[in-house]
């Protein structure tokens, strides 16, 4: 069962630190920020590296904060944010390079507490999908957007999404079988 927004909020706040008063005030737009874990999880599938994923989440949140007054239906906050993130991912993808810092290590996943081998297998399989097919699979099958919401997020038709989803499952089945 997919965790609710409230659950994620609790988890987000429960990472071992106690929020200060200033931090609490800074988190005035709680609903918006509460979706950040979903955005980061999605970004890790849409991007090629942790750095790109972090850039993508930050850009998405900043765009959303600037344009939050344009959100007409608060109940659709999650899909609205994922739509922004998807479009931003498409735009950033061409200009982002797999740059790594000169003094950096080769770490790309946490040594402890990272995804399990089974989840890594899924992540690797999804990463092999072409960009648009991957976006459709991530948004619909993983982030639970409807086909209509996925089509709106990707700015393509519903039929295109259905085709991408069908081909995506075929390819994933070949890889994961």
């Amino acid at each position: 069962m997919k965790p609710s927004t409230a659950t994620i909020t609790t988890r987000f706040e429960g990472d071992g630190r106690v929020m200060t008063r200033d931090e609490a005030e800074a988190f005035g737009d709680r609903e918006l920020v509460a979706v950040a874990p979903t955005l980061l999880a999605t970004a890790r599938y849409l991007s090629r590296s942790e750095a790109d994923a972090a850039d993508l989440v930050q850009a998405t949140l900043e765009i959303a904060l600037r344009r939050r007054s344009q959100l007409r239906d608060p109940a659709r906050l999650r899909s609205w944010l994922l739509a922004i993130e998807t479009r931003e991912a498409f735009r950033l993808r061409r200009r982002l390079r797999a740059l790594v810092s000169l003094d950096g290590s080769v770490l790309e996943v946490p040594a402890v507490g990272g995804p399990s081998d089974a989840d890594l297998e899924v992540r690797m399989a999804v990463a092999k999908l072409p960009t648009r097919m991957r976006a459709a699979v991530v948004l619909h099958h993983m982030a639970s957007l409807s086909v209509i919401e996925t089509a709106e997020a990707m700015q393509v038709s519903e039929n295109t999404v259905k085709t991408l989803l069908r081909l995506g499952l075929v390819r994933l089945r070949e890889v994961l079988a």
């Binding site: 990472d15 950040a36 972090a54 390079r97 770490l107 890889v175």
Partner: protein, 566 residues
């Protein structure tokens, strides 16, 4: 226990459930990840002000190169409203003035104004100029199939436009015969209407300014394509049939007007090569900025002062001498793959170097000929270690070729070999000049990376040339020394025990970027600097993880470490 080899294939529902469960766990990991808090805090602190990403410096440099190339290719007069012939105006009957089904909902764009359609010309320009936010509005005009513009972005715009493939934007004309166009930029993930060559298509499109990807004032007022609202019936672009107006300029007057109008864009040594008068559409090849039946003088100047450009065609009004546009033409084509290589094959020009990149980037799906050298050393960076995954193996350039502009290598073009074309085998210490026929936008390409050139055939092969193997500096360190220099960079978690040196290769930084997509720079290095690449893999799971360390061949310094982990 079921082994992987006989495990039954999951059903769609099982697969979807596994994907969703994986994502839920990924969400939970992200929620517990302090990175999430940091990102959210930074976004809130900045209040929507975008931070400068690490790639910006690289992007600015890349854009500068693109603009220089584009600027040399073509320079046009500023877009000014041209005369609109009544007979050529858009038939309003085929263009709806009310958008019937523009969706509203979870979109970052404000609700569009659907009650008005602004025709290209003064109305659309005024609406664009008056826009103060991202509110979308409708504009109408004609898209012409002859608008094979190539890469001619507005040099005054910033990186975001080019990163959107701005030169692939829409040119919306007021008439089926052309006229001053409104340039509408578009994101690569949008789909504009397709127009066949020689045809004109009336369209109504939704655009907006102040796009969220625009970060400064340079691009706030740029109209950006969102989607196509409606299209009318395509019709052939009308041919120019008008008659010469009275009191036209003579050839010498036209030349003087052209020289004055072109001003400093025309080299000082430019001499008149030819002067032709007639309807614009009849005498200017591929010209569509001016109404096709407008009478003009096209004055061609020749110059020796500007390498890369041999002739300048200046177009002025037939009667007033008003400067309309200037176009340059490249000089006689150079040999792309050495002095013995042909410059034309079967009537098709052969492109090389930056010219080849431009030809590939603007070729749509039309095959082009590109020439250069295949280097035997290129195979070193393409180990069969699982990076060429089964499903996408054919799209991996490691299975194709890298086409260099010179036998000494550098800045190669990656080519994929979907059809299994037999490519000349090159010994490691040789370079072979070749001319290949390639196309982009292959039908089998599903993603949006379809600009990768696909090899159709080998059109010509020259004699191989012996090369100084890798051209390493005499005082460069050995591979073993590079391996030791890389040792302190093996900072990998125990779970990903990447301790096996799988491949050690030597290449240039430019070659590294072309091969791995990783741009590396450092003090005292250039794209031509030679480096050792030490590749580390986990022998037990070669397809899962690989890491590399780049070591400056001259100084022995480990420059960068990266990972190909997905």
């Amino acid at each position: 226990m079921t082994s992987p080899t006989n495990r039954p294939a999951p059903t769609d529902d099982e697969l979807a459930a596994r994907l969703h469960a994986t994502f839920v766990r990924a969400e939970a990991l992200a929620a517990a990840d302090p990175t999430t808090r940091d990102l959210a805090t930074m976004a809130l602190d900045r209040g929507g002000r975008r931070r400068l990403p690490a790639w910006s410096a690289f992007a600015v440099a890349a854009v500068a190169v693109v603009l220089v190339v584009a600027g040399v290719a073509t320079w046009r007069a500023p877009h000014t409203p041209g005369p609109v012939a009544a007979s050529g105006a858009i038939p309003t009957a085929v263009l709806p003035t009310v958008g019937p089904s523009i969706p509203v909902g979870p979109t970052p764009y404000p609700t569009p104004d659907v009650t008005t359609v602004y025709p290209v010309g003064s109305a659309a320009e005024a609406q664009v100029a008056a826009s103060t936010d991202g509110a979308a509005f409708l504009v109408s005009g004609w898209l012409l199939g002859s608008d094979l513009r190539g890469c001619t972005p507005d040099p005054s715009l910033q990186a975001w436009v080019v990163s959107w493939d701005g030169c692939d934007g829409l040119w919306l004309h007021p008439e089926a015969g052309g006229g001053a166009a409104l340039v509408v930029y578009r994101a690569p993930d949008t789909t504009p209407p397709n127009v066949d060559a020689g045809m004109a298509l009336p369209v109504v499109i939704l655009v907006h300014t102040h796009d969220q990807a625009c970060l400064d004032d340079s691009c706030r007022q740029v109209p950006v394509f969102l989607y196509t609202e409606s299209t009318g019936d395509a019709k052939p672009i009308p041919s120019a049939t008008s008659t010469a107006p009275p009191n036209g300029l003579d050839a010498s007057q036209a030349a003087a007007a052209a020289r004055t109008g072109a001003d400093t864009a025309l080299p000082a040594d430019g001499v008149v090569q030819s002067s032709v008068a007639g309807p614009y559409g009849a005498i200017v090849a591929n010209g569509t900025d001016v109404a096709t039946d407008r009478w003009v003088w096209a004055v061609t100047f020749a110059s020796n002062l500007t390498p890369g450009t041999s002739t300048y065609q200046v177009v002025v009004d037939y009667v007033t001498g008003e400067f309309l546009e200037l176009m340059t033409q490249a000089p006689e084509r150079a040999h792309a793959a050495g002095p013995d290589s042909p410059v034309v094959i079967g009537g098709q020009p052969v492109h090389g170097g930056d010219d080849a990149r431009l030809a590939i980037g603007t070729s749509a799906n039309t095959p082009v000929l590109v020439g250069g050298w295949l280097l035997g050393t290129d195979r070193r960076l393409c180990p069969a270690d699982g990076s060429a995954v089964p499903l996408e193996a054919a799209w991996n350039p490691c299975a194709g070729a890298w086409l260099h502009a010179a036998p000494t290598g550098g800045n190669p073009i990656a080519l994929v070999n979907l059809a299994g074309v037999t490519i000349p085998s090159v010994p490691e210490d040789e370079a072979v000049p070749v001319i290949l026929r390639v196309h982009t936008h292959d039908p089998s390409c599903i993603g949006d990376d379809c600009l990768l050139p696909v090899i159709e055939s080998v059109a010509w092969t020259g004699a191989p040339t012996k090369i100084d193997l890798m051209g390493a500096p005499p005082d460069g360190i050995s591979a073993a020394q590079a391996d030791r220099a890389a040792a302190d960079k093996r900072l990998v978690p125990a779970k990903r025990n990447l301790t096996t040196v799988r491949v050690t290769a030597a290449t240039t930084l430019a070659g590294l970027e072309a091969t791995t997509g990783t741009g590396v720079s450092g003090p005292g290095t250039t794209p031509a600097s030679w480096v050792w690449v030490v590749v580390l893999t986990d022998g037990s799971t070669p397809a899962r993880s690989a890491a590399f360390v780049v070591v400056n061949m001259k100084t022995g310094q480990a420059m960068v470490a990266g990972s190909s982990y997905p």
